[in-house]
Amino acid sequence: MKHLLLPLLLLLALTACRDDDDVDMPLTETDLTLDFRAEYDGAPLGIQRDAYAYPTGDTLKVLLFQYYVSDLELLPRNGAAPVRLTDIDLLRWMSASDSAMQTRTFRVPEGDYAGLRFGLGVKPELNAQDPSAFPADYVLNEAEFWGPTTRYVFAKIEANADLESDGLYDTGLTYHMGSDSLYTTVEFNQPFSVRAGQTPQLTVVADVLRALSDGSDTFDITNPQQQAVHGGNQAVALDIWNRLAGQFRLEVQQ
């Protein structure tokens, strides 16, 4: 028996030596922070506290900017399955105390990535859910739905505008958008690598002005027909929605 002990220990030691290249090795994970920055014309968004020039020559103060993102994912460079960061999140700026930057932290596998993508809005399978299926403090139960039995408002822009140049921000602008047909995938093909201690700084930037005006095509906030866009008149909302979905930027600092 005593003679068997040494060979057995040796065998154990050998079996413990696993090859680093083994495919079933668990991936090493690290924390990745992802920032979401809201802007107005390239400057950090100041809810209520900042007055902004609008291309029609008017001035406005933004009171609310928010949007849902679904299926936020990192895209591995080797073509492997995307790394899901979250199924759903709500980015909201509604207080003068809010920083223009909101930060989320995720545990992700180290590796090389080709980019990042998300669905702007609430993806159809979640959009079909009854909000009461979720806890009262969950992002899908923030009273951000059209009615008691209907679907979610994917994004909101609200502001008070001074259209008479009299210093009074007395024209309300409320743009509420959302329906399955508006759901849009936003994808960035900008490579980055994630390593422990060497994570990139990723920032998703959304600019309220660019959602309303891309320079050549400006949503006319002076038109009384276009100052409250809710629910049923999503054809009007489509104009804003397309610009909103098209203006996102990803900043990568490796």
């Binding site: 009171l63 105390s97 009461s132 009262a136 923030e142 409320t174 809710h230 008149n233």
Partner: protein, 373 residues
């Protein structure tokens, strides 16, 4: 040999020191001063929530128990404990028959002096994740109860005095032990007292109105007028371009009929953000852009909770509707959904009829929420 004696002596000494007297001089066990006896294992309490309401917010710092809820209910109604002169309790301003409001524009404290604001309804607080009171100054429900006890315009008491009465009471110490597992009267604290109150308040769930029966339970029908009110002005989705009224449901959406947020809803005609007589949320955050913002109250049981707004300025629902129809006062932090709109008499009657469907009659007599025997 000497070492042996020393060791033996030490062993005897240790053994003697280890023999702790377990009883008094006569050998009978003496209770620790202020000790409480009786059951000390709380029974977990499961909130009864209908499927059409969301799961309540979980407060890990204040898990609910049957004993905690019972204790909170007893304190809630106990005038001897909470107020200086033994005349008032929480229930004095939160009356069950008025959906836990008091019918006053500003609540009256023990000196019959008006407080600063109207008493808010206590229904469905278990679903609020976002600050309590009109100004959101209490981040947790159980922290909400601290101030009313001390406020000179409310119960005007001293928490040390409240605790003294609780500890000296013949009944409460055992109830605290049953609810929180404490061993001595000294362990009865302000925190446990307000946590018990919050546990009871979380059970006050209102979800059996006509609206619930029509929309969720499928056991009733709206009248034509009620349906018109719901469709034409409350749950407005198919808004034609240029129509300004966004629908009451924007801030008072079902099933909660509130949005757990804070808004300037345009009721105050002031020259600037710095001129609000009551800053509301701004008084809590210190941010002038939050001045004049107040919590959106639930519209459940709204027909019972007059007068309306944080200061009770509107005596009737008609006055409230007239205000919203007239638009606000165009201040820069006013919610832009306050636009003003045309409200015909027929629409007003319809909207009022709909609002009355939000009354939960069963709440008003539910014995689980009534004063304990």
């Amino acid at each position: 040999m000497v070492r042996l004696f020393v060791m033996l002596g030490l062993t005897v000494l240790l053994a003697a020191a280890g023999c702790r007297e377990e009883g008094g001089a006569d050998g009978v066990e003496l209770p620790e001063e202020g000790a409480i006896t009786g059951p000390n294992t709380p029974t977990p309490y499961a909130l009864e929530v209908p499927a059409y309401l969301p799961a309540p917010v979980v407060d890990a710092e204040n898990p609910m128990s049957v004993e905690g809820v019972n204790l909170g209910r007893r304190i809630f109604y106990d005038t001897d404990i909470l107020s200086t002169d033994g005349t008032m309790s929480c229930a004095s301003c939160h009356k069950q028959e008025l959906a836990f409001t008091d019918g006053l524009n500003r609540s009256l404290g023990i000196r019959r002096l008006e407080g600063n604001r109207s008493a808010m309804s206590l229904v469905n607080l278990a679903f609020n994740p976002n600050g309590f009171n009109w100004d959101g100054d209490a981040p947790k429900l159980w922290k909400q109860a601290i101030h009313p006890v001390e406020d000179m315009l409310e119960l005007d008491n001293d928490w040390e005095e409240v605790l003294r009465k609780l500890r000296e009471d013949a009944d409460y110490p055992a109830r605290f032990r049953a609810a929180f597992g404490i061993d001595t009267k000294e362990e009865i604290t302000q925190e446990l007292t307000i946590k018990a109150l919050a546990q009871f308040e979380r059970t006050i769930i209102s979800a059996n109105s006509k609206f619930d029966r029509v929309v969720y339970q499928n056991t009733d029908f709206f009248t034509e007028e009620e349906q018109l009110g719901a469709d034409s002005l409350f749950f407005v989705e198919n808004l034609a371009p240029g129509v300004l009224h966004p629908g009451c449901g924007h801030c008072h959406n079902a099933p909660g009929f509130g949005d757990n947020k804070f808004h300037n809803n345009g009721i105050e005609d002031v020259a600037s953000l710095d001129d609000f007589p009551d800053p509301g949320l701004g008084g809590v955050t210190g941010n002038r852009f939050d001045n004049g913002k107040f919590r959106t109250p639930t519209l459940r049981n709204i027909a019972l909770t007059a007068p309306y707004m944080h200061d009770g300025r509107f005596k009737t629902l008609e006055e409230v509707l007239d205000h919203y129809a007239s638009g606000g006062h165009n201040l820069e932090n006013e919610d832009p959904n306050i636009t003003g709109f045309t409200l015909t008499e027929r629409q007003k009657r319809a909207l009022l009829a709909f609002l009355h469907t939000l009354t939960d009659e069963s709440l008003l007599t539910d014995e689980r929420f009534s004063a304990p025997e």
